[in-house]
Amino acid sequence: MQYWIAAIVALGCFATLPFFLGQYWLHAAIMGLFYVMMASSWNLLAGYTGQVSFAHAAFAGIGAYTSGILAVKAGIPPLIGLPLGVALAALLGFALGSLCIRMGGIYLSLTTLAFSEILRIVVTNEYEITRGTMGLKIPPLFGEYSKTVSFYVLLIAAALMLWAIRRILDSDLGTSFRAVQNDETAASSLGIPVVRVRIIAFVIAGAMAGLAGSLYGHYLMLITPHVLSLDLMFLVLAMTVIGGMGTFVGPIIGALFLEVLSEYIRVYGEFHILIFGLVALAAARFAPEGLVGLWRGYFARKVRSGQ
């Protein structure tokens, strides 16, 4: 109960942001929400079922390019294109998840990596359709372009997505996710349909990334192959690792923390990604459970010392 109150208070605070943030920071807040969606959904797949996929940015790209191309080339309104993009991302998630069922661990990572690179190369080269690295100009999701409206759209989407993830984690499915991650053989001996659980995780995470990517594209109104590059994948991974992989709040904190940090260190230009990387490397090396792990460790020590 406390949990839900905290969540609603946090959501309420977030909802007031457009009233006192300038245009610049409102943009940062929107980017933060996009990263929260990406990191949380990747965490559902990688942190909870142990399938470290490198195709998450690619799924975001599928969502963005599907609704974008449909809007530009076929004149289909983005509100119809968006669910189609999500559906395609889910479908490809199903395909990729099924392709990976016979392999685990590093094989899965390499397959998703290859999938992601194939997609990036195709999108970059099919200039006629995607306009390659020039980027594809696409219309906003609906009506006139407005940053405030975009903010609320992404806020609602992020809130719903986090609510869905929370519900999944608290359900039997969430328990199966963790069982599959900890010990696949033991999970299957307890009657957990390991293959189905792993594919479901892929489909859900793929659809969520597709949704995030599509909203992101219609907010920026310009999509480039950068969406499905390993650079974005790195940001999502770094945010999750810094926040705390395999925890619910970790990716949220990591995403918001890194987005705010990146706005402050943007002035250093080239240092920007390097600092991210060093923080992530330090987190991976010294605090494998990220900020959330440090926080919990701090509390555990306090309790133990009887304060």
């Binding site: 590093i106 194939i118 991974l237 390097l274 990387g277």
Partner: protein
């Protein structure tokens, strides 16, 4: 016909270099079950060092090449000790750590060396008429020869030395090897350094032909993964065959199908192999 033989030769030359850096990945996978995402970044670092030693410090290019390979070996030892050792037993975590490390290194190179391509001086100049079919650059022929020498030396090391016997024992059965007195931590450390040094060797051989920029390492890592999977995880002979196959397929594909999609062939091969024959061409059926 002469076009075809040129593409084929290009494919074989590139293929043997692919094999060289892929052997490093295969060694590390075989021993530690770790995929080193920063493999390509070590290749790049070797290129930078080789250029630095030869031009800024004025060493003979051949000496510069040897020195930078040794430097990369030491860098590999350090990476293993600092970043990989804490992840023992967690394959996913080592993957994440090396992925982050590769991004850190790329951006560090960008700051230190700048975005412009760097290259060490050529060892030889001119071109040779190969089988009176076509003219081929001497530097490339030398690169082919050098890569071949390093690969043969590596195979001799693995087949006929004490260290090689230890490596084969550990990759067959880690626990058993530890029981008969092999120190697994030391084997890990040295294998990781040696694997990195192979990337370094490929880097110093290839950079006079293809100058390095901070980000070319990504392509090197991805190519190495394709070759290792194609050959069969952990199989050294498979690496050589896989490297040659990929080199030839890429070059013929670029010439006759589409040059824009040159990099795509490798990834398609990777997915097909993983789907139809996950053990690769020469791998033990472990998946």
């Amino acid at each position: 016909m002469s076009d075809f033989s040129l593409y084929l030769t290009n494919g074989l030359v590139m293929g043997i270099i692919y094999a060289l850096f892929a052997l490093g990945v295969a060694l590390i996978v075989g021993i530690m079950n770790v995929i080193n995402f920063a493999h390509g970044e070590l290749y790049v670092l070797a290129g930078y060092f080789s250029a630095l030693f030869a031009t800024a410090l004025g060493f003979h290019p051949a000496l510069a090449m040897a020195m930078s390979t040794v430097v990369i070996f030491v860098v590999g030892l350090l990476i293993e000790r600092v970043f990989i050792r804490p992840t023992y037993g967690n394959d996913m975590y080592s993957l994440i750590v090396t992925f982050i490390l590769s991004i850190v290194l790329q951006n560090a190179y960008l700051l230190i060396f700048g975005p412009y391509p760097r290259k060490p001086p050529n060892l030889v100049t001119g071109a040779t008429n190969v089988f009176s079919l076509f003219m081929y650059g001497n530097q490339r022929l030398l690169g082919f020869g050098l890569a071949l020498v390093v690969i043969v030396a590596f195979f001799i090391l693995i087949k006929f030395t004490w260290f090689g016997r230890v490596v084969r024992a550990v990759s067959l059965d880690r626990d058993m090897a530890a029981l008969v007195g092999v120190n697994p931590e030391r084997v890990n450390l040295i294998s990781f350094g040696l694997g990195c040094a192979l990337a370094g060797a490929a880097g110093v051989i290839l950079t006079p032909i293809f100058p390095v920029t901070p980000t070319v390492g990504v392509g090197v890592s991805l190519t190495a993964f394709v070759v290792v999977v194609l050959g069969g995880m952990g199989s050294f002979a498979g690496c050589v065959v896989g490297g040659l196959v990929l080199g030839v397929v890429e070059n013929l594909g670029a010439a006759y199908l589409s040059s824009a999609y040159k990099q795509l062939f490798g990834f398609v091969i990777l997915i097909l192999v993983l789907f139809f024959r996950p053990a690769g061409l020469f791998g033990r059926q472990r998946v």
